[in-house]
Symmetry: C2
Subunit: 123 residues, 2 copies
């Protein structure tokens, strides 16, 4: 599911129990500092808008952010909304599972729509 | 071990087999977007300088970056140099251990010294 796209970046949903999106650059840069300054600035700006919308829409316990690319060295930033009763909290989503969890969250489709509108307006 | 410090941020080493540092803001902001714009810009700049020095000094397979704060909600960014034969690669450092590994790496103290000098010069 592609949530947003422009000439520099695109945003996709990661299948998960939690709200989780990945911000990719179109160019397959390996490291963040391989990207030119304007693309890096754009990525941070998109990250910040995404975090803000997640905070406002979901009121999560915490936002988590990560950029690994060990399997696929194509620059992307993970943005995750974490909840005290999600399956892994307080461990990272890559850590040890803490419990069986069924989260009741507002619609992701509505979040995606709001994020799209906000990015379109603020970028 | 405190590697660098100024009025906005400080950098500490994380005890690990891999080169791993954490960039903290002095103010205990919870989320990245809780920090004012100048501190956010500073954090990204410090992140980028740290990544560049890690790449040049260690020639790792990949840089990994993360910001969680689920246990301690005090804004900090993890910067990790990853190697194909480290204990977790290609999993994140929070993932499933892949092998027993003994890495032979250049001195961390020398890396810390170079990072300090670079930050002092470029900031």
């Amino acid at each position: 599911m592609r949530i947003y796209e422009d000439g520099d970046i695109f945003i996709e949903r990661e299948a998960s129990e939690i709200p989780w999106v990945k911000i990719f650059t179109h160019e397959p840069y390996k490291e963040l500092t391989d990207a030119p300054a304007d693309i890096r600035a754009k990525l941070w700006r998109v990250y910040e808008i995404t975090e803000k919308e997640m905070l406002e829409y979901y009121s999560p316990k915490k936002i988590n952010m990560a950029s690994f690319g060990n399997y696929l060295p194509h620059l992307h930033i993970h943005v995750m909304a974490r909840f005290e009763d999600d399956s892994f909290f307080p461990e990272p989503m890559w850590g040890k599972k803490q419990r069986e969890s069924i989260l009741e969250l507002p619609s992701f489709e509505e979040f995606a729509k709001r994020l799209y509108e906000r990015l379109t307006k603020e970028l």
